[in-house]
Symmetry: C2
Subunit: 273 residues, 2 copies
């Protein structure tokens, strides 16, 4: 049973403490009593895959996810193949790190034809599913906010993510629900319900008003307009009881000492999430 100071489901997505190395983030979590961490490939590469695995094990943390695979669409077939290969490596890294979820940020279209970009995503996922299945990794499609449609992801609604999941009917494919990306959607509650059984992660942050920046504008839970309690209730009603990752791209938070950020996360997790 979850109590008022139960942090068992809390996870730090490593981007939230962007200045920290894997080692610093892992040790920060252990010190703060945060039991899980979402790692980023770039950081893992910097610190080394084996070393990252070791430091996580030493700290007895759980790796809730690896960010990020995806970025599938490209103008040439050769480039699309190269990206599929890179995602195969990401699947291997995820397995090596002991997580079962690779987060997919699907990427932008190579030109103005966004529908063509969406087809490229679909094709790439189809190609990768056998690899994911063989490695025991689930691919988590994370629909991004529509303001990222031109430069980060052609998949911008839970409806699209659900459609892909339903098309492939694979245990190795599911959805990452990130509050910042989906809270605005008039269909958010029925779409979360529709995703029942396929939710692989729940990410939280907040949407301040005014939003100071597109990429780095998101803020600490409680500092914005997202009804986080309702969204959490919806993902739980849909059967999700896994980790809740705090993922905040925000320069001011990055400039704050990590231990202070983690203390504030714990406070806001209890008060707002």
């Amino acid at each position: 049973m979850e109590t008022l100071n139960d942090f068992s489901r809390l996870s730090l997505n490593q981007i939230t403490t962007n200045r920290w190395s894997v080692r610093e983030a892992v040790e920060g979590c252990a010190w703060a009593g945060i039991p899980s961490i979402g790692l980023w490939r770039e950081k893992v590469q910097e610190y080394g895959l084996a070393a990252s695995k070791r430091v996580v094990a030493d700290a007895k943390l759980r790796v809730s996810s690896l960010c990020r695979g995806g970025w599938f669409p490209a103008a040439s077939k050769q480039e699309r193949e190269a990206r599929i290969d890179d995602n195969r490596r990401a699947i291997e890294e995820a397995a090596e790190l002991g997580t079962d979820v690779l987060v997919l940020v699907c990427g932008p279209a190579p030109g103005r034809d966004i529908a063509a970009g969406r087809l490229m995503v679909e094709e790439a996922i189809e190609r990768l599913l056998p690899d994911a299945q063989a490695a025991g990794i689930k691919l988590g499609i994370e629909p991004l906010h529509p303001m990222f449609a031109a430069d980060r992801s052609v998949i911008v609604t839970l409806d699209e993510a659900n459609r892909l999941v339903e098309r492939f009917q694979s245990d190795a494919l599911g959805i990452i629900v990130d509050a910042y990306h989906i809270w605005w959607d008039p269909q958010v509650l029925p779409q979360i319900k529709r995703a029942a059984g396929h939710i692989l992660g729940y990410h939280v942050s907040d949407w301040p008003v005014p939003l100071p920046d597109i990429l780095l504008g998101r803020d600490m839970m409680g500092n914005g307009m997202i009804d986080l309690r309702s969204l959490r209730a919806a993902v739980e009603e849909a059967g999700y009881n896994g980790t809740i990752e705090v993922e905040i791209f925000n320069r001011a938070i990055w400039d704050t000492p990590g231990d202070e950020v983690l203390a504030l996360i714990k406070q806001r997790y209890l008060a707002c999430v």
Copy 2:
């Protein structure tokens, strides 16, 4: 029949030349051979309603729309009533200016309950429809991009706008399709088709990458990632053959001499729209 240099459907939304008064914008359009203008209430108030009407008539321009009514949700019933009253004045102003379309930017929710905000929009539209009908004015719901959901409009998809139009079944209610706000939507083409017979305006601009700013980031047609030709084809297949308004919030464009902006608009209108 539309020819290669036919500007008969082109309209300047006045915000695009934000430093110009009503008189300057009207005379600029007349000089440039742009036959229609979308006026803004604030500018009309500055210049005077009667004077605005006169200068438009003298220049033999058509007023394609008045921006903007809406901004319906508010915490107190008293404030919501005040906003409905203000929209009644906007309807009167639109009629006086000789346009038949009042653009609605529906407004943000007063708190975190966005569904409650949407209900307030629905209630306000229901209240205003008899006034609009009596004045011969059509209310055009403009779904804004979801990145404005927290501070400008709880109505952020064509789906929601279509739902409202279908609910009220009134000749006095329709939809403004603005390419910048809706291009990202995986359902954009079927939703435009669904809006057939209810499209009251088509607005164009473009989405540059990276988007430099949320409110002022949109750019001149051709400078971004929106497939404007496909969207225009879709609104035309849905039976819309009215004006095409160029509406660009962009400080660099505002800082450019208006006559230069209008010349560029004409060029890009032919090349990209």
